[in-house]
Amino acid sequence: MKGLVLDNLRRDQLTDAISKGRRLDGRGMSEYRKLEIRPGIIPKAEGSARVKLGDTEVMAGVKIEHGKPFPDTPDQGVLIINAEVLPLASEYAEPGPPDEDAIELARVVDRGIRESKMVDVNKLVIVPGKEVYLMYVDISVISTGGNLFDASSYAVVAALMNTKFKILKQEENGSVIPTGETSELPIVDLPVSITAVKIKKGIILDPDVEEESINDGRLTVAYDQEGNLCAIQKGQASGLKVEEIMEMVKMGKEKVPEIREMIRGALEKNG
């Protein structure tokens, strides 16, 4: 697209607006696009949620299985997060195994959830050292409209909070069978991911696809309920000054309560 007159004009307009503390769609620097969270949209999955964040749309589904724990964590359930950008999500997306962007997306969302200790994995054990619950969380990106990191994280958080699964037990003969009871996951935190980008000298939260395309550095931070930072990923081939990073962290921290309330609210309404 580079070199096209209109694209360049648009870019100038965008950076000019941001340098004056405004955004082209009228949002404030810290303002998120319209966020819609709908939990429980796939009844066959143990947990699910669809998130719309402006033009970005993401689904997450949770399937709970059982199996062997990892050797280094014999007394903990297993959390596995994958992401796929569906080929219908944008004109650039293609079918095939996840590329490096999808892998990064899954791993960044995973770290935010894992490091916040959102799910108490110590409670997801059937027989210590032998049989534990395996939580498979799959992220499917339906539309790429910018800020996939946050939208995907909210979808996963909502899907996990919405999960109901069959309680299992092991028989004398070793087979694992349902007890007939169901349970929610042991949720002990509600992490919130906030993504900031720098454009020239301005810092904004929740970039849309256009803002993302001209950003000079991105930082995704997950915050736990106590306000600690629990996972960070800087993105983009560019540098950020320490003061810029601290400004991004501060803006993010101020935003967290609002987003957390929206996730909670959506679950109370639909769950």
């Binding site: 962007d101 892998i103 600690n228 629990c230 960070i232 983009q236 081939a237 000054k241 320490v242």
Partner: protein
């Protein structure tokens, strides 16, 4: 929680909180590569070869305006406690990407349109902080290849173990500790080009951790410079 700090305030390997592990760096040891470097840092042994700028073999993935930077971070199957499958893991794919993003801001890629620069990072033996050591070494290798650079990139991890912020995590500190926070920086401009974090820090701790990393990066930067001086200015010295 495992005890990682003794009563005298020393870490398991006897280091103080703000002390790097022993390290050594060498520039230009591969014959056929355009540039290369070798680093040891703690138990890490990492070899980096840079090829290019050279013509792209495929039209796909070239850029009319600048060189395309490609990077592969790869661990040899025998580099770890348990054998690592030679197939690239998700971790290696992500690390390759963030290392590339950490190095690119230092390079003047516009000088070489329609070409590619390949960075091959081979972890011969891995220890904590291998991505940082890889960046530090790759930066020497890029300079050795004669690619115009704004600055060297120096990288090191900071962490939290038993409640204390410490510099340059060992494998055990990384696995048993509370936080791992790798940072890469171009010290001339103070621009941070890589930052990742696992584990919980308050905002204040986070700010202190960055300062600790900066001090460590300074020390590594001096060694990077020396490695290059040693290769290119040996005769002048003797």
């Amino acid at each position: 929680m495992m005890n990682l700090i003794d009563e005298g305030g020393k870490r398991l390997d006897g280091r103080s909180f703000d002390q790097l592990r022993p390290f050594s760096m060498q520039a230009g040891l591969l014959k056929s590569a355009s540039g290369s470097a070798y680093i040891e840092q703690g138990g890490n042994k990492i070899l980096v070869g840079v090829y290019g700028p050279r013509d792209s073999r495929s039209r796909y993935g070239t850029n009319q305006d600048k060189a395309v930077l490609r990077c592969r971070y790869h661990m040899l199957p025998f580099s770890t406690e348990e054998r690592k499958s030679p197939q690239p893991s998700r971790r290696e794919i992500e690390i390759s990407k963030v290392i590339r993003d950490a190095l690119e801001p230092a390079l003047l890629l516009e000088e070489f349109p329609r070409s590619v620069i390949d960075i091959y990072i081979e972890v011969l033996q891995s220890d904590g902080g291998s991505r940082g050591a890889s960046i530090t070494a790759a930066s020497i290798a890029l300079a050795d290849a004669g690619i115009p650079m704004k600055d060297l990139v120096s990288a090191v991890a900071v962490g939290k173990v038993n409640g204390h912020l410490v510099l340059d995590l060992s494998d055990t500190e990384d696995k048993e500790g509370e936080v791992d926070l790798p940072i890469a920086v171009m010290l001339n401009s103070g621009l941070i080009t890589l930052m990742q974090m696992d584990g919980k820090l308050s905002e204040d701790e986070f700010r202190q951790a960055i300062d600790l990393a900066m001090a460590g990066a300074k020390e590594l930067r001096e060694a990077q410079r020396k490695a290059l001086v040693q290769k290119y200015f040996k005769e002048v010295d003797s």
